[in-house]
């Protein structure tokens, strides 16, 4: 009788363990389609196929990003709004999930996103709203991004891209005073970046803060040509963020804990140049490698992850020892099953780019054609921007992705790309 009970227990554990390690096929299919340059097919997969509740957030994050890349900005906004609502719903500790994960792994829990990923929902939303000329919507997202910084600012402060976008969104919404505060904080933290200084100087002039404007002006190498009364802003994304990998710590040869880590691969920053009529055109560029921010955000959760791993190890060892006392064979089987289930939860928002760059090009009003030359040390890209309409005193926005995840062009000409129509 006792043997039957243990036998059933092992079968039940095996079933739970197998479920815990199951990955989401529709999600993987959508990601493969996206990385092979078919964003519309990827969206179709995400919109039509059923995805488990525990991966629902990842599906929404991917949907939002893929729609953005495809130029479907309203669809992207809707997906990211749903992701934000889901995050609020998931903001509690599920006793059922935590108990199950104690004898299996964290794959059985609903994915709640890293702090950095929560921030980037608002980063992409700011871009979406600016691309749709909805400055008020961008400013709402900027305030939500600031709430994430309030809670996790120490781990995210090096995300100059998101922080610059926050200031830019406030400027666009006619809130130069809010933008001024963000620019000042940015300049203090970034070591006085020249590109940011130019933005801060222009905003301070508009606000009538003469003293601050003079201080910012001293950081700028060259002033913008007086004829450049408009501006082209490019949200550039390149490559794909490296996925999390599994790290292991061995307590003894038969006992180890797995935990998620980001690979420690150092990549050079993007090199970006702008050409107009065959000549170099000055531009302010803010570059960020997203994996650097993700790594810091994940490390900030390290204490919590370690505590849970220790609890899991203790729970698994105690259960296996208890069963071994009754039946050695079953105890050994259970130990093997527990070891096999010790898999790090490496889920992450994998469709994110490796690099994000904010390229601001001052231009005179009228129609312009430019070339954007991008190098990520492995590939060189030449992006042709034709007939961009620049209005006086107005920022014109474009979003481009190059490398992995870039929409495939039907008739490729070397590595030349053209922009998707917004």
């Amino acid at each position: 009788m006792k043997f039957m009970w243990h036998y059933r227990a092992v079968l039940l554990c095996a079933a739970v363990l197998l479920q815990g390690c199951a990955s989401s096929t529709p999600l993987n299919n959508a990601r493969n389609q996206f990385f092979s340059g078919q964003p519309q097919a990827a969206l179709e997969t995400l919109n039509t196929q059923s995805i488990s509740k525990r991966n629902a957030l990842l599906a929404l994050l991917d949907r939002g990003l893929i729609a953005h890349t495809a130029g479907e900005y309203q669809q992207s906004i809707d997906a990211f709004k749903s992701a934000t609502a889901l995050l609020n719903e998931l903001d509690y500790i599920s006793v059922r999930e935590q108990t199950t994960s104690l004898v299996t792994n964290d794959w059985v829990t609903a994915y709640k996103g890293e702090y950095s990923e929560r921030l980037w929902i608002h980063t992409f939303q700011m871009m979406n709203f600016l691309l749709l000329n909805n400055a008020e919507g961008a400013a709402v997202e900027a305030r939500q991004a600031l709430q994430v910084f309030d809670e996790h600012g120490a781990d995210l402060k090096n995300d100059w891209y998101s922080r610059s976008l926050i200031a830019m969104s406030f400027e666009a919404a006619g809130k130069p005073d809010s933008a001024h505060i963000e620019y000042k904080k940015l300049l203090d933290d970034s070591g006085r970046d020249k590109g940011i200084a130019r933005r801060a100087w222009q905003n301070a002039k508009r606000l009538g803060r003469a003293q601050d404007a003079d201080a910012f002006k001293q950081l700028i190498e060259s002033e913008t040509s007086s004829g450049d009364d408009g501006e082209l802003v490019i949200f550039l994304q390149a490559g794909s963020i490296p996925p999390k990998i599994s790290g292991e710590i061995y307590v003894d040869p038969s006992l180890y804990a797995s935990f998620p880590v980001y690979p420690d691969i150092s990549q050079p920053n993007l090199s970006i140049a702008v050409e107009k009529d065959g000549k170099n055109k000055s531009a302010d560029v803010v570059n960020v490698q997203l994996v650097d921010i993700s790594r810091e955000a994940l490390a900030a959760r390290g204490k919590g992850i370690t505590t849970k791993q220790l609890l899991r190890l203790a729970a698994k060892k105690n259960i296996a020892q208890s069963v071994s006392g009754e039946n050695e064979l079953l105890g050994s089987l259970l130990t093997v099953a527990f070891m096999a289930s010790e898999v790090a939860d490496t889920r992450s928002w994998e469709t994110l780019p490796a690099h994000v760059s904010l390229v601001q090009i001052p231009l005179s009003s009228g129609k312009h054609s430019l070339n954007l030359l991008v190098s990520d040390s492995i590939n060189d890209y030449s992006i042709s921007l034709s007939n961009i309409d620049i209005a006086p005193g107005v920022k014109t926005y474009r979003s481009i992705r190059v490398g992995a995840g870039a929409p495939r062009i039907e008739e490729p000409i070397s590595t030349e790309l053209t922009l998707p129509t917004p």
């Binding site: 903001d91 500790i93 006793v95 709402v140 305030r143 600031l146």
Partner: protein
């Protein structure tokens, strides 16, 4: 044996009753809410009950004000919208539309429709392009000139309980909507009022 059978029947009945209760508890329900009378808040965030309260307070304030010049008839207003300075995507156009609707229905104010201005011009152009008989054309130069601009700002302050050992998380949200009427001729702010809403919500941190 008889005792065992009675126990078995009793257990079966208890199980049946439990099943009925469980089934009732799991049934999906739909309730109709009357937005004019019911006040419903699921969390601390802005909702239709807040909109109803805001519209009602501003309408009352505007209907009872003596600060506006009514010598030349009912004041004519043009709405320039309410700026959303909160961290929520709130359609503030709904607030200004409802205030306008209430004031028009009360009959104390007249409004010019700024949103339809371009359409009205297009329609006038169409009528004068030769498609409409002269006697049916509108007479140009008869549009109303507004006396006042109605505009405002919605702001919010949110505070979350700091991280600590607790079973519930509390969130406090404060909304403030300022609305003002600006005299177009003089630039004077002729009327201004404010509605404030503060609400605290509590959600459990641990769930099933």
């Amino acid at each position: 044996m008889i005792l065992s059978s009675t126990w078995y029947v009793g257990a079966l009945r208890a199980a049946a009753v439990s099943l009925v209760i469980l089934a009732t508890g799991c049934a999906a329900t739909t309730r109709t809410i009357n937005p004019a009378e019911d006040t419903v808040h699921y969390d601390a965030n802005y909702d239709f009950s807040d909109k109803k309260e805001i519209v009602s307070k501003f309408t009352d304030s505007l209907l009872n004000t003596t600060a506006l010049n009514r010598e030349s008839g009912k004041p004519i207003i043009v709405t320039y919208g309410i700026a959303n300075e909160t961290s929520e995507h709130i359609n503030t156009g709904g607030i200004s539309d409802d205030i306008r609707l209430s004031l028009i229905q009360a009959g104390e104010y007249r409004f010019v429709n700024r949103a339809q201005r371009k359409n009205a011009l297009d329609e006038a152009d169409f009528q004068y392009a030769g498609f409409v008989p002269p006697e049916q054309r509108i007479i140009e130069g008869r549009q109303l000139g507004a006396n006042y601009i109605l505009a405002g700002t919605l702001r919010s302050i949110e505070k979350k309980q700091p991280k600590q050992w607790r079973l519930n998380k509390r969130e406090l949200v404060y909304y403030s909507l300022n609305l003002e009427l600006t005299n177009i001729q003089t630039g004077e702010v002729s009327w201004a009022d404010r509605v404030e809403i503060a609400r605290e919500s509590k959600q459990p941190i641990i769930g099933w």
